[in-house]
C-alpha cells in the first residue's frame, strides 16, 4: 500500500522579500508553485500510489486566484483520469464555509467541518480508513482530536489534521502529540507547519511541509512524502523533492577588509562555485571576520551592494539579501558619554516612537508588520547604531575610503 502525503500547497501565494527581479526570474517564480503541483501529480502517477492526501491550505481563500483554483482542479482531474483517489481537507487559509459550490471530480473526497472517516480500498484489496476535517472558518479553536474515531476495523487507519500543537483556545486546531498517539492510528498526516517535521517516528506523525518555499524563512528542499507500507505493517515515509527553486542561507568565506567592488565580485565568484544545481534564492551573510569600509557598509545597508550583486547573478543562484553578522562590541565613538548615549537611544528608539514616526505608513498592513512586528526594539537600536557610526564617519570624513 502506497500513498502520497502533501500539504500547504499555497498555490497563489507570491514569493516574499524579493525585489529587482529580472523578468525571466519573475516568470519562473510565478509558475513555480504550479510547476510543483504538476510534479506532484506526475510523481503520484509514476509511483502508482493508491491515494493522495492533501492536508489543507491548498490556496488562499482571500486571494481568489482563478489560476490557482483552475490549476488545482486540473491536477485533481488528472488524478481522476489516472484513477487515483484524492482525500483532501481545507485549512485556515482556504477555509470553506460552504462546500456545496465545489464541483470536484469523482475521485476526490473533501472532508467537511465535522470529523469524518472515509475508507479507500486499494487495488490489492487493502482497506484504508482515513479520518479528517476541514476548516469552515479561519480559526478552529477546539481540540478536535477527541472527535476522531477509534482505530477502525480496516487494515490501516490514517489521521489527517491541519493545525499545530497547543492548548484549547489556540487558533489552529490545537492538539498534543500524546493525544494523537493515543488513537493508535498507523499514520498521522499533518499540515499547517511549512517546515517538514517529524513529531514521532513510529507510528509516523509528520508535517510534510509545503511544496515550495516562499520566503527566506522557508529554506531547504521542499516537496511531499511517499509513504509505503512495509512487511511488518509499518508505514515508511520517504521525502521527494518537488521544486527546483529553494531558499538558502549562505555565509561567505571571507576575512579581512573588503571594499565594495572587490567584495561584490568575490561574493559572486564564491556563489557560482558553490551553487551548481537547481536554483537557489540566497540570503548572503558576511561573517564577523569581514571588515568593511564605511561607504561599503552604507552601500550594504542602503541596498546598493545587493543590486550590484544581483547584476552578477549566476545560473543557479540569485541573491535576496546581504547581511552582516552583528557584532556586539560597543561603538567606541561615544567615549565617556556612552551611558548618556545609551540612555538617549533607549528613549528614542522604542516601538511607540517608531509607530509615531511611521504615521500613515502603518496604514499598509505589510509595513505595519515590517516596521513593528518583524523588527524588535533591540534590532532597531542595533541598526540605528550601525547607521550612526557609518554616517558619522562619512560626515566627519574620518574614514580612509578610496572609492
Amino acid at each position: 500500500m502506497k500513498f502520497l502525503h502533501a500539504a500547504d500547497l499555497h498555490l497563489d501565494t507570491p514569493f516574499q522579500g524579493l525585489s529587482g527581479l529580472t523578468p525571466a526570474l519573475q516568470e519562473r517564480l510565478i509558475t513555480a508553485p504550479l510547476m510543483a503541483l504538476t510534479r506532484l501529480v506526475k510523481l503520484a502517477i509514476a509511483e502508482h500510489v493508491d491515494f493522495v492526501l492533501l492536508v489543507g491550505d491548498l490556496f488562499d481563500q482571500q486571494s481568489q486566484s482563478v489560476q490557482a483554483q483552475a490549476a488545482l482542479m486540473s491536477a485533481l482531474e488528472q488524478l481522476n483520469e489516472a484513477q487515483i483517489p484524492v482525500i483532501l481537507s481545507f485549512g485556515n487559509h482556504d477555509f470553506q464555509p460552504d462546500l456545496t459550490n465545489w464541483h470536484l471530480p469523482a475521485n476526490v473526497h473533501a472532508f467537511g467541518p465535522q470529523v469524518t472517516t472515509v475508507t479507500v480500498t486499494t487495488a490489492d484489496q487493502t482497506r484504508v480508513a482515513i479520518s479528517g476535517f476541514s476548516y469552515a472558518k479561519r480559526w478552529v479553536t477546539d481540540d478536535l482530536v477527541a472527535t476522531y474515531p477509534a482505530k477502525a476495523q480496516a487494515d490501516y487507519h490514517i489521521g489527517t489534521l491541519h493545525g499545530q500543537t497547543g492548548v484549547a483556545g489556540d487558533h489552529y486546531a490545537p492538539f498534543s502529540l500524546s493525544e494523537l498517539l493515543a488513537k493508535h492510528y498507523d499514520y498521522w498526516a499533518l499540515g499547517h507547519i511549512h517546515q517538514r517535521q517529524v513529531l514521532n517516528e513510529q507510528p509516523p506523525v509528520i508535517y510534510s511541509g509545503n511544496i515550495q518555499g516562499r520566503h527566506r524563512g522557508e529554506t531547504g528542499p521542499k516537496g511531499c512524502l511517499i509513504v509505503t507500507s512495509q512487511a511488518d505493517h509499518t508505514l515508511q515515509p520517504v521525502f521527494h523533492d518537488l521544486t527546483s527553486i529553494t531558499w538558502t542561507d549562505w555565509t561567505a568565506d571571507l576575512t579581512g577588509h573588503w571594499e565594495r567592488q572587490s567584495l561584490v565580485q568575490q561574493l559572486a565568484d564564491q556563489l557560482t562555485a558553490s551553487m551548481t544545481t537547481g536554483y537557489q534564492l540566497v540570503t548572503v551573510s558576511l561573517p564577523a571576520t569581514v571588515e568593511l569600509g564605511t561607504s561599503t557598509e552604507l552601500a550594504l545597508t542602503q541596498g546598493a551592494l545587493l543590486t550590484q550583486l544581483q547584476e552578477l547573478a549566476g545560473e543557479h543562484w540569485w541573491p535576496v539579501a546581504i547581511e552582516q553578522v552583528v557584532t556586539t562590541d560597543s561603538v567606541p565613538l561615544f567615549g565617556l558619554n556612552a551611558t548618556t548615549w545609551q540612555h538617549a537611544g533607549q528613549t528614542v528608539v522604542t516601538d511607540a516612537a517608531v509607530a509615531e514616526l511611521a504615521g500613515h505608513l502603518l496604514d499598509e498592513d505589510f509595513l505595519n508588520t515590517a516596521l513593528l512586528d518583524d523588527v524588535s526594539t533591540t534590532v532597531w537600536q542595533q541598526q540605528v547604531m550601525q547607521l550612526l557610526t557609518d554616517q558619522y564617519h562619512l560626515t566627519t570624513g574620518v574614514d580612509d575610503d578610496v572609492d
Binding site: D12, P14, F15, Q16, G17, L18, S19, G20, L21, Q26, L29, I30, S63, Q64, S65, V66, Q67, A68, Q69, A70, A71, N101, H103, T301, Q302, G303, F334, N337, T340, W341, H343, A344, G345, T347, V348, V349, A353, V354, L357, A358, G359, H360, L361, E364, F366, L367, A370, L371, V375, W380, Q383, V384, L387, L388, Q391, Y392, L394, T395, T396
Partner: protein, 829 residues
Amino acid sequence: MWIKRVEIAGFGKFQQQQFDFGDGLQVVYGLNESGKSTLRAFILGMLFDFPSRRHQLERYEPQATSQYGGSLDLVVDETPYRLTRLSEQPATLINLTNQASQPLSLLDKWLAPYDRSQYLQLFTFNQAELTALKTLRASDLNMQLQQAGLVGSAPWRDTATALRKNADELYKPRGRKPELNQALQRYHALSEQVKTAKQRYPEYVSLQDRLQGLQAEQARQQREEERLNTEQQRLANLRNQWPLYQQLQQLQSGSADDHTDQLSEATIQQYQTLTTKQTELQHALASAREQLSQQPVDPQSQGLIGFYVQHQDQFEQLEQQLPTLQQALGKHQTLTQQVTEAKADYQAQSNAHPELLSCLSPHKRDAIVDLKQALTNVPTSRGQQQSANEHHVDWRLVAGGVGLVAGLFLPLGAFKWLLILAGCGLLGWFGWEELSGTATTAENEFQEQLVAAGLAPNLTASEALQQLELVAALQRAQNTVTSAEQQAAAQAMVVWQQLQAYQFAAGWIPVDEQHLTTSVTRVAQFYEQVRQNMQQQTMTGPDFAFTQRQVQQLTQQVHELTEQLQQLAAANGLADADGLARAIETYAAQVANTASAQQLQQQLSSTDLAALQAYATLADLQAAITTGRNQQAVVQQALTDQTADLVTTQAQLKQLTEDGRYAILRQQQANMQTEITVLARQWMTRQLGANWIDQALQLLTQQQLPQVLAQAAVIFAQLTGKRYNEIKLADEELLAITTTGARFNVAELSTATKEQLYLALRLALINHLGDQARLPLMIDDGFVNFDEHRRQAAWQELAEVAQQHQVIYFTNETAALTQLPTATVQQLT
C-alpha cells in the same frame, strides 16, 4: 586666537589705517561716529569674509578710495599669521614666521565650529541685544550651548542634519517626490490593479456554475433527444402497420355489423348439399328441356315449344297470373264503358245549353262561385241593407226633423232660416234615397257578376240561379267524364304493367299498350297453343312424353328443393333461399374475415395493436408523427444552442484560467512590498538616528547646564554686588534667587539686572566652553544701564574673562580710559 594687528586699506571711513592690539582686554575708545562699529565690522568681515555686494550697507564701501579690505594679523598657538582680503583678489593667509602660504581652510579650522552668526551670537554682544532681551529660556540657552559646540557636538549635529536630509530624500509624510512616496504611489496603483484583477474570481465561479448547469442541461436534452428518436421510430413502425390494422379494423367491424345468427355447420352443409343438388337438377332440367325443345316435329311448333320450354319457368309463372290479367282487363273494359256513357251524357247536356259552355272555362269558375254566393245572399243582404238603411234613415230623419223644428220655433234670427234649410235638405235626401235606391243597386250589382260569369247580364236572380244550376250540372257531367277516363287509364296501366312481363316474348306475343284487349287475348291464345302443341307432341312421341315427364319430374324436384331451401331459410329465420344464400355467403365471408383477421392479428403484435388503437385515423397518427418531428427539431435546436453556449463558456473559462496577469500582479505587489519595506526601514533608521543624536546632545547639554548656571551665578553675584547668589532652572524658566531666598523670574527683574544676568550667562558660557572657544570677544558697549557700581563689577568680570580670551571692548565711556584694569587702550578719533 587673538588679533594682533588690524590694517585697513579701505573700509568705511577708514583708509590706510592700522591698529595694534594685544592679548587680553583691549579697549577701543571712540565718541559717536568715530568708527567703532566700522572697525568691528571690518574684523568680522576679515574673519568671516565680507558681505557680498548685495548687502551694500554692511559692506562699508569706502568712499575715498577704490581699494577695499585690508589685513589682519592673527596669533594662533603662538604663531603669527597674516590674513589678507583685498578687493576682488583671493584672500591669503601667510604664516609670518616662515612666510609660508597657508590654505584658507586653516582659518576655518581655527574658527570651527562657529560660523559668522554663531560667532556673533556667542562672542559678541551689544546693547541692542541686551535691550531686546525679554526673557531667557533654558531651551535658548541649551541651544546656545549646543551651538557652542558643547562636547564637540558639531560633527554630531552635522551627522544628524545629514541623516535628516537623507531621510527627507527618502520620504516625507505629505510629499510626492521622495523615493518612498513615489514607491508608495506606485504600490497603490498596483494594488488597485490587483483589486481589479481579483474581480475575475467571481466571474470564474459563476462561469463554473454555468458550465455545470449547461452540461447537466445538455445531458438532459440528449436523453430527451434519444427518447424522441425512439418514439419516432415506434410511430413510424406503427405507421407501417397501419394498412394491416385498417384491414383488421374493417374485417372486425364488418363482422360486428353482421347480426346474423351463427349459422350452424349443419345448416351450411345442408344448404350446400341442397344447392348442389339444385344445380344438378337444374342442369338436368335444362338439358331435358333442351331435349324437349328439340323434339317437336314441325319447325313452327318446335320453335314455339322450344321457345316456351326455354322460358318455361317464366311462362309458368305468368300463366298463373293470367286470371288476374284477365280480370284486370275486364275491369278495364267496364271502365271504358263508363267513360263512353259519361261522355254521352255530357255531350247531351252541352248540346242542350251551348251558351253555357263558356261558363265552364276555368276563369269563369270563380266568378260563378261569387255570383252564386251573391245570389244566395241577396235576401239576407237586402234585409241587412234595409236595416242599415233604416238605421241610416234614422239619424237623417231625426236630424232633419230636429233642424226643421228648431229652425221654425227657435228665435235665432237669421240663423233659423239656415236650420230650416238644413233640415229640409236632410229630409229630402233621405226621401230621395228611399225611392230610387235599392232595386237599381241590386240590379247594378248583379250585372257585373253576370257578365263576369259569362251569363247574360240582364237576367234576374232566379233566372240566374237557374242558369247556374244548369252550369253546375254541366260541370258535374264533365267531372264524371274526367274521372271515368282517369279510372280507365289507371286500369289500363295496370293491365299494361302485367302485360309488360311478356316483353321478352315479344317475338311470339306482341303486346301493345294501345291494344290491351288484343294483347291479353294473344297471351291467352299463346298458352292455349302451346298446350295444344305439347299435348300433340306428347301424344305423338313417347320420347317427348318421357322427356316431358322428366321435365315435369325434374321441375317438381326442383320445386321441392326450392321448398326445402325455403324451409331451411325459414328455420334460420331468413326470408327465403336467397336470403339463406346471402347469409351463408356472409357467414363464409365472416369466417374468411375472421381467418384473415387472425392472420393479420398474428402479424400485428399486441403492443402495436394496443398502440394503434389509440389513433382514430391515419391522420391522427400522422399528426402525432409530425408533432414528434417538430419536437425533435426543437430539441435539436436547443442542443445546438447549448453546444454553442458550452463552447463560449469554456472559451471564457479558458481565457480566465490562462490569464496570468493576476499572479504577475501579485508577485509584483510582493516585490514592491519588499522594496518599500527596505526604504521604510532606511528612512526609519535615519529618523531614529537623527533623533537619537538630538536626544543625546540634549541630555549631555542638560548635564552641562547646571555647571554653567553655577558659574553664571557666581558672575551674577559679583555683578549684582552679591545681591543674587543663585540662578536656578525651574522647568524651562530661569529663576534668579536672592541671598534672602526670594525668587524672581527673569521677567520680574529690572532691566539692568536682567542685562546683568544675561551678561553673567554669556560669560559663564564662554568660560565653560574653555578650549573650544579661544576666539576674541567683541563687546560693543553694553553697560549703559548699569550703575557706577555695577559697571565696575562688569569691567572686573571682563578683565577676568580677558585672562583667557582677547576681549575687544568698544566704548565711549570716558571712565573706561582709566578705570579698566590692565587694559590696552586704543583711541579712535
